[in-house]
Amino acid sequence: MELSEFIAQIVNGLDKGSAYALIALGLSLIFGTLGVVNFAHGALFMIGAFCAVTLNRILTWSHVVIDETKTDFLGNPLKVNVPYVNDWFGVETGAAIIDWSVPLAIVFSIPVMILVGIIMERGLIKHFYKRPHADQILVTFGLAIVLQEIIKFFYGANPIPIGAPAAFAGSFDFGTMFGFDPNTIIYPYWRIIYFFFAALIIGAVFAFLQFTTFGMVVRAGMADRETVGLLGINIDKRFTLMFGIAAAVAGLAGVMYAPINAPNYHMGMDFLVLSFVVVVVGGMGSLPGAVAAGFLLGILESFASMDTVLQVIPGINQVVIYLVAIIVILTMPRGLMGRKGVMEE
């Protein structure tokens, strides 16, 4: 394997790992605070991506203008959709607003996702706190299916393309930075942004838990819920909000992922199983473990997909993550950074 190939796959794994890490971080947060194994977490990632789709549709909400010079597929005068933002802000500004719909969706999605998370927790999941993990898995998996069917009903089964702002189209030639030939290590700008965005969100969540009073109480509650309750603190309320924050983290991961792969109703399920493996490898309830395992498995998956590797071990790309999970669980039953006593009763 050439060095350029090696670097390219590490870079590849970073953005994939970013998505795994963000989803797994939310999963771990929910498990660590509420003790719930949330199989609907992938659906929250998908809903986040559809926040980007929805905002794009709101911004492109149009009225019809008849263009007599052109005809439609039936030979009738062509109906042209003109977005209202073009009327309100002018064609250039209107086009720029639509072009930046994904970054704008970040702001749009945060309150939406927190609300979705709180409704989900208060409306359904809280009734399963004292039930076995198997019940929690069943109910949240069922919820995930319901959520994806709702999205399919409104948006259809086909992927819906959402572009990144034109300013971030194209790719960056990493290779030339390290003295390689041009075009050997290319990476799209938006994926680079995704990596830094993920790092920022992960950093913000850790800072929130580490340096705020709210975070301190939550951490105390994670360590000993009963004692915190005895001190007169309403820990349930805080944990509900943490569920909303975890939903927002998954949603933001989905919003930013929309330009990478066109959102479809099934995308949450595609990430869910892998994210659970990430959480288990990282250690149930361990936030740093989830992040580290996310990046580790993302990079490993990238290497396993290389033709040179596949020629030696055919099919390794489809099982590498699970193989690593088996090895980690056999050698370190609590995962890479798991705590004693979690899911061991």
Binding site: F73, A157, N158, G163, T184, P188, W190, D270, S302, M306
Partner: protein
């Protein structure tokens, strides 16, 4: 007191045997084939993906079937029944029986598709099963219909195997296949990109992917292209970046994406994001090819399809009378143009009905005989032959390209070439398999 002799026992046995066989014989006479319609209506089974990743294609297939039923029963404007060269259909149902239908959900899973087809045959007494948007499903349902003794009119299935190694006497396919895509595409690729190219294939890891890769490889290598690598990608893959990166490292100057559906949307989007189309390799522009295009999928890939070559079975922009009649009929009813999935399923429903009329029966063996070697026109693909040897339709194939300046959300592909049927015709024996004998069931 009677004495039982050996001769007496044999005689009694023969009489008893004849007696026991008699009812079966009479039953077979009364119902010579599975689900023979007895009342004033006949039931067809539309087995399409109503859930799962191809649900939108399934919905379009269902729209087309509903339109076909309307036309067969004398409703609407008649659509392609007016342009169809066979005039056996009279708009009074099939053989005077009103056409009714039941639907099933294939879920794009072979097991689920077989279960829904079986239910439509056994519970709803469907005399024919049609539809689907996957070769795996088509092969599975076709085999079931063969066992059950009903006709299977395949929907969107592109693998060579459907009418190749897995062909059945009761199964018929109007849609084109991987071989035809390769044969139609190669000359256009040669003319546009030259005959000295190095291709890198990314192939969906299942039956359709293999036959498509093989077809494109064979036809492009025959004109001088070299295949530098062919990598299988899991069907469940969503992010193809780790498969695209090695392409950049290779010496390839063409990437062939043997992907369909969500795989195609994602792999093409990823390839364009990674700047492959802006790359210059071996002094040539890097090119991407998508052997099987679908307008519904092209919509998912958005602007990334611009300028990319592929093939398709039919496109709403065709200007022949059949296509125009169908687009008008479908467009006025539903408000948008039909997809190729809608077209092929509509045509299959009409062809089945026409075969019943010409055969004068719903008996699958009579219908199969009427379809075998049937030549027709006016259904949107020019003169077409339902070849008797493998039950595959032979007609013109469209080579298309992603449109640079689309005028609407439907105007995504432009027709580059209509490849004549003769150029994509092959010997029926090359893919193996045996049709076997027609099974009327019952």
């Amino acid at each position: 007191m009677s004495i039982l002799t050996r001769r007496g026992l044999l005689k009694s046995g023969a009489v008893m045997g004849a007696g026991m066989a008699a009812p079966t014989f009479f039953v077979n006479q009364a119902h010579a084939y599975t689900n023979a319609p007895t009342g004033g209506s006949v039931t067809l089974g539309f087995n399409v993906p109503q859930s799962g990743p191809y649900a939108d294609e399934g919905a379009d297939e269902l729209r087309a079937y509903e339109l076909a039923v309307e036309h067969l029963n004398g409703g609407g404007d008649g659509g392609m029944m007016n342009t169809f060269t066979s005039k056996a259909l009279k708009g009074n149902g099939i053989l005077g029986k009103k056409v009714e239908y039941v639907t099933g959900d294939t879920q794009t899973k072979a097991d689920a598709a077989r279960a829904s087809a079986r239910s439509m045959i056994e519970k709803d007494r469907a005399v024919m099963i049609t539809g689907g948007s996957s070769s795996g499903v088509a092969v599975a349902v076709q085999a079931l219909c063969q066992e059950a003794g009903v006709i299977f009119m395949a929907g969107l299935t592109h693998s060579n195997d459907t009418t190749g190694k897995d062909k059945k006497a009761n199964g018929f396919r109007h849609f084109f296949n991987s071989y035809m895509s390769g044969a139609a595409l190669a000359p256009i690729l040669g003319a546009n990109y030259g005959k000295d190219r190095k291709a890198y294939h990314l192939t969906a890891d299942y039956n359709w992917g293999y036959t498509t890769e093989e077809a494109v490889r064979t036809s492009t290598e025959a004109m001088g292209w070299e295949t530098v690598a062919a990598v299988k990608t899991p069907l469940t893959q969503t992010d193809f970046s780790s498969y695209i990166t090695p392409v950049l490292q290779s010496d390839a100057d063409v990437l062939v994406l043997n992907h369909y559906g969500g795989n195609m949307v994602n792999s093409l989007t990823n390839a364009v994001q990674f700047g492959l189309r802006d790359k210059l390799v071996n002094g040539k522009n890097f090119e991407i090819i998508v052997p099987l295009y679908s307008r519904l999928m092209a919509k998912g890939a958005g602007a990334n399809v611009k300028g990319i070559f592929g093939s398709t079975n039919w496109h709403w922009s065709l200007s022949d009378e059949g296509s125009k009649a169908f687009v008008k009929s479908f467009g006025e009813k539903y408000g948008f143009p039909p997809s190729q999935a809608a077209h092929t399923t509509y045509v299959q429903a009409i062809l089945y009905a026409d075969a019943c009329e010409r055969a004068g029966t719903f008996n699958p063996c009579g219908v199969a005989e009427a379809l075998e070697g049937f030549e027709f026109d006016g259904m949107g693909n020019g003169p077409t032959l339902y070849r008797a040897e493998d039950h595959q339709c032979f007609k013109d194939v469209l080579v298309v390209k992603g449109k640079e300046n689309p005028t609407s959300e439907f105007d995504l592909l432009e027709i580059v070439e209509v490849t004549p049927a003769a150029q994509v015709t092959y010997d029926a024996s090359i893919f193996g398999g045996e049709l076997g004998a027609c099974n009327p069931g019952a």
